[in-house]
């Protein structure tokens, strides 16, 4: 409405890009904005809530960290124990997100394209890791993969020790982040038009060529988004990991646990330094996810479009 009016004015007076014209447009935009009530109340409540719950606490964290200064934060984060914790956390999260990228692609494909008995139940069950409290996941996976557990009993004689090793961290993180890739890929696979695949096939492409050249490139942005979402979630995960990790400093200790360990030793500044580094990483990943989603949306617009 308001855009249209402004355009109309601009068309009528193309050479009068003066202050009057601009302020007229602004005036109209304010007027059309105020048709619906409650903007002030809604935005005011939202901002007050966000300020008290997010900005004030995070501001407090950054203020506390500023007592340390940049150099000291780096010193703490790059200390032997912290560096080992960061390495374990990053490698395990990357591996878990990778496992989920591969199997998530298969599961999403199978849920959209294939029919099999119990499909709707399987589809609903995929969200279990989002609904199951992390502590429950932690003790259950630890019990499953322990030496006398259902799975550990067969894996340990083969030389695979999972529980209480870094491998256990990967297992817990894989469980926790399982839905991300599946749920970001599913709608994109649903939107792929089979006409394109038919065209490729009729031009002589094998099914594998069609997948590699047509389908996979279309899925790539969503796959990367799902991977990054899973990775971001895995980095911060705490509840499920601590039960299965063994929590040996330098070997299987994750950063969130190290933060708590420092807090329990009354090393508040040390905990703050690590928390600020984690927060910066979270911000970076959030930005990456936003860019990836924008890429997905744009790609979608260019590729599809013809859907009724």
């Amino acid at each position: 409405m308001r855009g249209k009016l402004c355009k109309k004015i601009n068309r009528k007076y193309p050479n009068h890009q003066n202050r009057f014209q601009i302020s007229l447009c602004n005036l109209m935009s304010i007027k059309s904005r105020r048709v619906l009530p409650g903007f002030g109340l809604a935005l005011g409540y939202t901002l007050a809530y966000l300020s008290l719950l997010i900005l004030l606490p995070l501001g407090g964290l950054i203020l506390k960290a500023s007592e340390l200064g940049f150099g000291q934060i780096l010193d703490i984060a790059l200390g032997e124990r912290s560096l080992a914790a960061f390495r374990v956390t990053f490698v395990a999260s990357f591996l878990a997100a990778g496992v989920n990228a591969l199997f998530g692609l298969i599961v999403a494909w199978m849920l959209v394209r294939y029919t099999f008995p119990g499909k709707r139940l399987v589809d609903a069950l995929v969200d279990l890791p989002f609904a199951l409290p992390t502590a429950v996941a932690g003790i259950t996976l630890a019990t499953l993969y322990a030496g006398n557990g259902w799975l550990g009993r067969y894996l340990e004689p083969l030389g695979f020790k999972v529980a209480y090793t870094p491998a256990g961290i990967v297992v817990a993180l894989t469980f926790i982040t399982l839905p991300f890739v599946v749920r970001t890929l599913q709608p994109v696979i649903e939107d792929i038009e089979t006409e394109v695949e038919e065209a490729a096939a009729s031009l002589g492409a094998s099914r594998f060529q069609t997948f590699g050249r047509i389908i996979f490139p279309a899925l790539l942005p969503a796959l990367l988004t799902g991977f990054t979402l899973a990775f971001a979630r895995a980095l911060g995960e705490f509840g499920s990991v601590i039960f299965i990790a063994g929590n040996l400093p330098l070997v299987s200790e994750i950063v969130p646990l190290l933060i708590i360990a420092k807090l329990e030793q009354y090393d508040v500044l040390g905990a703050t330094a690590l928390a600020v580094v984690m927060l910066a990483i979270s911000f970076g990943l959030l930005l990456t996810i936003n860019l990836l989603q924008w890429w997905t949306a744009n790609r979608h617009k260019n590729a599809g479009g013809g859907k009724p």
Binding site: L36, V126, F130, L132, T134, L279
Partner: protein, 287 residues
């Protein structure tokens, strides 16, 4: 050669993918779920029931429900307000606001707990003032509610924003131009339009609020029978090698997860049905 359609994989590929996908889900979803209940009932129903009737377990269940019940109204009000502002109006800094709403999804729960300790803890910014007035926030209920709010508030807003954006503002504008007051418009037009989306968000936020471990663990202080939610109680029992007790408490949370999944699926199904109905009624005039 068997006849396969051009847009289908050969049968052996299909079979291999199904085996890989379902096998993965079996080992990572079905087996853990089965293990929770098997472990809880490992010593029979009698011990399971006794473990659930422990006063500390009961008080943990009570505290978990209490925190969720307190947190939900705040989350609902925030979700509706944020979605109303973001979906129906244009203003500067909207994408920044959306990023802030997403932040709790990306921040580690441990960091979420820590920030409240830095504010309200004994050495925190408001610590001295609070202790002078004998107000306890950290290692007490208020801190646990704050941490839960931090972790769970984006769910409802995240669900409502795209829904309200897709619905546009014509219906509300019509109501207002016909003389409805703001609240009349909200109760009669907006709320009926978003009720399923709102319920969906409530289900997700509630599951997260009841199941949260990391953030609540940091601010709780683990005082048995006092600041122990059910997920925290699971940890204590497990660390005491009380497997039946731990898994009995865990089975309650697993049941909650299953109820959540079922409710979510039903609501999804209702939403799809309603959208389909809407599309069917709109179709003739659109084409």
């Amino acid at each position: 050669m068997k006849s396969t359609r051009a847009t289908e994989e050969p049968a052996w590929v299909r079979r291999a993918l199904l085996t890989a996908g379902l096998g993965f889900l079996f080992f990572f979803l079905v087996l853990p779920l089965a293990a929770v209940f098997t472990e809880a009932l490992a010593q029979g129903w009698g011990l399971y029931a006794a473990a659930l009737k422990e006063p500390e377990t009961l008080s943990a269940i009570g505290l978990t429900v209490l925190i969720a019940v307190v947190a939900l109204p705040f989350n609902i009000a925030f979700g509706v307000a944020a979605a109303w502002a973001v979906a129906k109006f244009d203003f500067k800094g909207k994408s920044l606001l959306l990023t802030l709403i997403d932040l709790p999804f990306a921040v580690s729960p441990v960091v979420a707990g820590l920030v409240f300790i830095l504010l309200f803890g004994a050495q925190g910014a408001f610590g001295p003032w609070l202790s002078a007035h004998e107000i306890k926030i950290i290692f007490a209920l208020p801190g646990m509610i704050l941490a839960t709010l931090f972790i769970s508030f984006p769910f409802i807003a995240r669900e409502l924003i795209p829904l309200m954006q897709a619905q546009g503002k014509e219906e509300e504008e019509a109501a207002v131009s016909l003389g409805a007051s703001g609240w009349q418009m909200f109760w009669r037009v907006t709320l009926p339009n978003i009720k399923w989306g709102l319920l969906y968000g409530v289900i997700l936020a509630n599951a997260r609020a009841m199941g949260e471990f990391g953030a609540v663990s940091v601010v709780s202080g683990h005082i048995r029978g006092e600041t122990n939610t059910l997920p925290l109680h699971v940890e204590i029992l497990y660390n005491e090698y009380n497997a039946v007790g731990a898994f009995a408490a865990a089975s309650v949370l697993a049941l909650l997860a299953l109820v959540t999944l079922a409710a979510k699926t039903i609501v999804e199904w209702r939403m799809k049905k309603e959208t389909a109905m809407l599309a069917a009624t709109l179709a003739p005039e659109k084409t």
